[in-house]
Symmetry: C2
Subunit: 426 residues, 2 copies
């Protein structure tokens, strides 16, 4: 678990728990539920709703991809129209409603109308999301037909929240949830997050209100009382070190969305006094979810934390991390626990960041493998190989250029990944 | 063969032939040879020499990777010292002599000294190259010990040129050679090229004289009479549309090198009158070699030409092509002949190039699959799948933004690629 900590996680310390770790403590003011609408070929639940009957303030961050799925276009319009207010989140898995043209926009709007009628809110207060295959006409009628059943499925228990988290899964093998609770003068402020994503994962989320879409979908619920403008302000810092610092395959989706909803039901206002504790709790929830996404990545055998230090700037550090995280040669070497540090160095070398190899040091799992421009005197291939057989470990690279650093979470590339993705739409 | 033509090849038309296609017609003024020096674990020939006993003018282009192998550092110094003059090219496969520190530089220099003594030239007229594993101390003594045998191995027949081309192979399964002959007032000017490379292939060669290294090694021999400055001038145009327009895995090597040598032995000067024909012949040789490299890429099942049109600039077109060529999701879909155009569109969307999806059209193997922001009315999944079962086909994407275009050659990502690269250094 040392590496989770390395990525910034300290679940035990601050009350960030998975659902399995215990009941209760869900943010007040929300209902969750899921049903089978018949969109997933598997027949599993594929339509989820989160409802804030009293409404919630909202902020969202979307991928910077030029190609936008219909629900992203619609969701963005709705957030703009309401100034950041959401009553119902309507998510389906199995069809991304992306590259579906005007017909896709209309289909999405029809489902929002049906949800607004069912949950008695205005059309603009419905926030739609879709994930699944791209380019297949969206079956709006299946979503609409499922609305009555959805109304009956909603509830406030952990089971209801789990049902939401499970229904949004596609190639995920595990549900991804995280929670945090902070105590403000004796009142609990709660955060609950649910996420999905296992492939096409390299989120590059733009500033809140930017356009875009998602194969990574993240929903963050809290009962703190906050203006939408406050949510937009605190969101980027939590996202930068979590969802914007992971990559499974380097493919930035057309649908990546992180939605933060605040019901206000705790009665605690997000004042300056509260904000540090709240920001930290939000970060921990985001980091836990980001970690869960990589850990459940398609075909993943090893979760690798890249800790880049000694960079001239943080942007440089991230650029080096991304080059390594996207290098098929680095990733295939990790799959066989091969301490091939030459590939790490080569990928850093083509990242576009200037550095001198003779100043670089590289450690794998705490064992130095490269120093002073050549193989480390202490390089022990067997020991390094053994360290890399662990499910999780850290590769530390010091560039010797400055003081900036970053942590970036990624994974190996396996034959299983190729098998999964060679079969996707067939 | 239509797709080879699509990438700009027209072998039959202009006398560019593989060695197998017929004997003779090698450029005069060069000797080639290869021996077993014991560097490759396989025991195959692993040391090659090309000798220009009267000397040759020379220009080289290297990768822009920050990390430089010892022979690149040394080779660059030598070209600078001689002003672009080479007598002996000394290439080994099996060890890249990269990330080997000062000891690697010294080892490389020792081999150059031995070659200079053997071939009776000055030290600076030896151009060294290495390819193989990174970070393992370079066995200079094996190269030095092989020098006498190398002297005996040299010759001017196609068999000798083939021996050179085969000895430089690493994970290549096929020798890669191409030739062209042009007729200048009754005198033949000949070009012969030999290349190696199957993985870590995404050359981004900088301007001649820039620093760098190579897993792609290319040697171009001609008997035209040209100044080194002329060679430096004509080289970039030939490289841009060939070696700088291919990618197997997106990993830009630490050793990529293209060396162009002109012996002058034809007696034909590279004047303005001759240069158009010569430039075209050189381009065809480079395009043929580039195609052969991708066709023999590690685990490659399908060779895909990306023809990007309607871009605002050529740089935009290349950026879109590179994003698609490096997308694991696009590449895995190709491996199973899956006409998943949504992944193509998504990768174009995150390339950083601005475009409007509703103006984009996509065809696969000549069949339109996407138009006007959605699936093409004529999309026929079975037909598109069938077109993609071909070994070679073209994916054409029109961005609808301008007049610029590019062709970029790439390949699928297969389980075999993962297997090959998960095993490399073990």
């Amino acid at each position: 678990m040392d590496n989770e900590r390395g990525f910034g996680f300290a679940s035990e310390a601050v009350g960030v728990e998975t659902m399995a770790a215990g009941g209760g403590a869900l943010p007040r003011g929300f209902f969750w539920g899921a049903v089978k609408a018949g969109i997933k070929a598997s027949g599993n639940p594929d339509l989820a709703v989160a409802l804030a009957p009293q409404g919630a303030t909202a902020a969202a961050m979307f991928t910077s991809n030029q190609v936008v799925a219909a629900p992203v276009t619609v969701g963005r319009r709705h957030l703009a129209a309401t100034g950041g207010r959401v009553m119902a989140v309507l998510v389906n898995a199995g069809n991304a409603n992306c590259a579906t043209g005007e017909a896709g926009i209309e289909a999405c709007q029809q489902t929002c109308v049906a949800a607004a009628e069912t949950f008695q809110c205005i059309f603009d207060e419905v926030f739609p999301s879709s994930t699944g295959i791209i380019g297949v006409p969206f079956p709006a009628e299946k979503v609409i037909r499922a609305m009555p059943a959805m109304q009956d499925a909603l509830g406030q228990t952990p089971d209801h929240a789990e049902a939401f988290a499970r229904a949004i899964m596609t190639t995920d093998t595990r549900m991804k949830v995280a929670r945090a609770v902070i105590d403000i003068d004796g009142t609990e402020v709660r955060i609950f997050g649910a996420a999905k994503g296992a492939g096409m994962i390299h989120p590059q989320l733009g500033a809140p209100t930017m356009p875009a879409h998602a194969t990574m979908l993240v929903y963050l619920f809290t009962d703190v009382y906050a203006e939408a403008s406050q949510l937009r302000e605190i969101m980027p810092a939590a996202i930068e070190g979590s969802f914007n610092s992971i990559s499974i395959d380097g493919d930035t989706s057309t649908n990546d969305t992180v939605l933060l909803l605040a019901s206000g039901a705790s009665g605690v206002r997000l004042t300056d006094r509260v904000s540090e504790a709240f920001d930290n709790a939000l970060k921990l929830v985001c980091e836990s979810l980001a970690h869960q996404i990589v850990d459940d990545g398609e075909g993943v055998g090893h979760v690798v934390t890249l800790h880049i230090t000694g960079a001239a700037t943080t942007a440089d550090a991230k650029r080096v991390a991304r080059a390594i995280a996207h290098s098929p040669l680095c990733k295939t070497a990790w799959s066989s626990a091969d301490p091939n540090w030459g590939r790490l160095l080569a990928a850093a070398g083509y990242s576009g960041v200037a550095f001198k190899p003779e100043r670089v040091t590289i450690s794998i799992g705490g064992l130095q493998v490269f120093a002073l421009g050549t193989r480390s005197p202490s390089f022990d291939k067997e020991a390094a190989h053994k360290a890399m057989t662990a499910r999780k470990y850290t590769i530390a690279i010091d560039l010797g250029e400055g003081e900036a650093e970053c942590r970036f979470l990624t994974c190996d590339l396996t034959e299983e990944y190729v098998r999964i993705n060679a079969d996707y739409s067939t």
